[in-house]
C-alpha cells in the first residue's frame, strides 16, 4: 500500500491586488509553493460582489500545502493582516504522497 503523510492545507481568500503580498509572505515562511484560483463572486459583511475586475475588488483563493510547523508560522505572519486586509484563512489536515517535498 502507498505511503501517505499528514500535512496542512492552507487556503486564503483575498482581494486580487493583495495576492503578491500574500504569496511573498508564504515564500518568507519557507513554504515551497502555492497556487492561485480565480473566484467569480461572493458575499461578506461588505455585501455582494461579482466579477468586479475593473475595480480590483475581485478575489482570489490562494492554496498552499506545508508542514504543520510552517503552516503555524504562516498563520502567525498573516495574523495582523487578517483583519486589516479582510483575509479569510482556513486550514486543515490532508494526506499527501511524496510528503518530503513540503
Amino acid at each position: 500500500m502507498i505511503e501517505t503523510v499528514i500535512r496542512k492545507r492552507i487556503e486564503i481568500l483575498a482581494d486580487t491586488p493583495l495576492v503578491r503580498l500574500i504569496t511573498a509572505t508564504i515564500d518568507a515562511a519557507g513554504i515551497t509553493g502555492w497556487s492561485v484560483l480565480p473566484v467569480t463572486s461572493g458575499k461578506g459583511r461588505d455585501g455582494l460582489w461579482k466579477e468586479e475586475w475593473v475595480t480590483g475588488s475581485d478575489k482570489s483563493l490562494i492554496q498552499a500545502i506545508s508542514s504543520q510547523e510552517k503552516a503555524t508560522r504562516l498563520a502567525e505572519a498573516l495574523a495582523q493582516m487578517l483583519t486589516s486586509h479582510g483575509l479569510l484563512l482556513t486550514m486543515w489536515d490532508v494526506e499527501v504522497i511524496r510528503g518530503e517535498r513540503f
Binding site: P17, R20, L21, T40, L48, V54, T55, G56
Partner: protein
C-alpha cells in the same frame, strides 16, 4: 445647454451605459465576462494611447505639451488636498478613508476621458493628441498625496516594494505611455495597417465597455451601505469644482477649447482601476465600500451623463470669450 448636449444623450455610447444601469436596477443577471471586460479595458488604453501618439507625431511637440503635462501633474498632486479637506470637514469622514477617497479624485478615469474625447469630437472640439500623455502622468501623483494624507501621523505599514510597483508601474500607466510611444514612433503610415482594429473598433468597444460599467456602477450603488447623502453630494460637487478649475487652467495656459475641456474632464474624473488597487495595498483599513462607490457609482455616471457636457460648454464659452 445647446442642442448638442441632447445629441450626446442619444449617442449609442451613452445609451449603452444607461442600458447597463437599467439592467442592474431590474436585477437582471446580465454580465459581461470578466476576461472580456478586462480585455476591452486594455484595448481602450492601447487604442487611445496609440491614437494620441500618432496625433503628436503629426503635430510635433511644442511648448504647450510641456505646460499641459506640468499642469496635469500639479493638479493630480494638489486635488487630493482639497478633496481631503472637504471630506473631513463636510462629510466627517475619518482620516484614513478621507485620504483614500481623496487619492481617487486626484487621479483619473481613462474611460471618462475616452468618452469625453468622443463627445468633444462630435461637438467640433477635437482633443489634442498629447492629452493622452497628460492622462497617463495624472494617474500616479494623486496616489502619493492620498497615501500621505491617509497615513500622516500613523505607524508605517509594510507592503513596500509591492506597493511602489503598483503605484508607478501599474498596467494603465505602462500601457498608456507604451502605446503612446508606439504611436509616435510608428506614425500615421505605421498606424494605417492597424487602424481597423484601433480606430474602426474603438467606439463599438467603448459601447460594450460602458454597458458593463453601467451594470457595475448601479449594482454597487444598490448594495452600498456606507455612503451617506453628504458623500453623494461631494461625489457631485468635487467633479464640478475640479472640472471648472481644470478647464480654467487649461484655457489659461493657452490650450485649444477641446484640450482645455479634456484637462477639465481629467481633473473632474475619479479613478476606479489603478487607485483602488493601490489603496488595498497602501491603506488596507480604508473601506472600498466608500471609495469605490463614490468614484464608480456617483462620480463616474455624473461625469458621463452631465459633467462632460457642462465642461464642454464651459470650455467653449471661455474660448469664445
Amino acid at each position: 445647454m445647446d442642442p448638442t448636449a441632447l445629441a450626446t444623450l442619444t449617442s449609442p455610447v451613452i445609451l449603452f451605459f444607461i442600458l447597463g444601469v437599467i439592467a442592474a436596477l431590474l436585477r437582471s443577471e446580465l454580465a459581461i465576462p470578466e476576461a472580456i471586460a478586462k480585455g476591452m479595458s486594455l484595448y481602450l488604453m492601447i487604442a487611445i494611447g496609440m491614437k494620441g501618439g500618432v496625433a503628436m507625431a503629426t503635430s510635433g511637440i511644442d511648448g504647450q505639451v510641456l505646460s499641459a503635462l506640468g499642469v496635469g501633474i500639479l493638479a493630480s498632486f494638489l486635488i487630493p488636498f482639497g478633496a481631503f479637506a472637504a471630506l473631513r470637514l463636510f462629510a466627517r469622514l475619518d482620516q484614513v478613508n478621507a485620504g483614500a477617497v481623496a487619492a481617487h479624485y486626484g487621479s483619473v478615469s481613462v474611460v471618462t476621458f475616452v468618452t469625453a474625447t468622443e463627445i468633444l469630437k462630435v461637438e467640433g472640439m477635437p482633443v489634442a493628441g498629447y492629452m493622452v500623455a497628460v492622462l497617463a502622468v495624472m494617474e500616479t501623483p494623486a496616489i502619493l498625496s492620498g497615501i500621505f494624507l491617509a497615513r500622516r501621523g500613523q505607524a508605517r505599514k509594510h507592503a513596500g516594494g509591492e506597493l511602489w510597483r503598483e503605484v508607478f508601474l501599474n498596467a494603465s500607466v505602462v500601457l498608456l505611455l507604451g502605446s503612446f510611444a508606439i504611436g509616435y514612433i510608428a506614425g500615421p503610415e505605421g498606424f494605417a495597417a492597424v487602424q481597423p482594429v484601433f480606430e474602426g473598433g474603438f467606439k463599438g468597444v467603448l459601447c460594450l465597455f460602458l454597458l458593463d460599467m453601467g451594470v457595475l456602477a448601479a449594482r454597487r450603488l444598490m448594495a452600498s451601505k456606507a455612503v451617506t447623502p453628504r458623500l453623494v453630494l461631494l461625489g457631485i460637487l468635487m467633479p464640478l469644482a475640479n472640472g471648472a478649475l481644470g478647464t480654467l487652467a487649461g484655457t489659461a495656459i493657452g490650450l485649444d477649447a477641446g484640450s482645455a475641456a479634456a484637462l477639465g474632464v481629467l481633473c473632474a474624473s475619479a479613478s476606479y482601476i489603478a487607485v483602488p488597487a493601490a489603496m488595498r495595498l497602501a491603506v488596507p483599513q480604508a473601506d472600498p465600500g466608500i471609495y469605490l462607490t463614490m468614484s464608480l457609482s456617483v462620480t463616474f455616471p455624473f461625469n458621463i451623463l452631465v459633467g462632460i457636457g457642462l465642461i464642454a460648454w464651459l470650455a467653449r464659452w471661455l474660448s469664445g470669450a
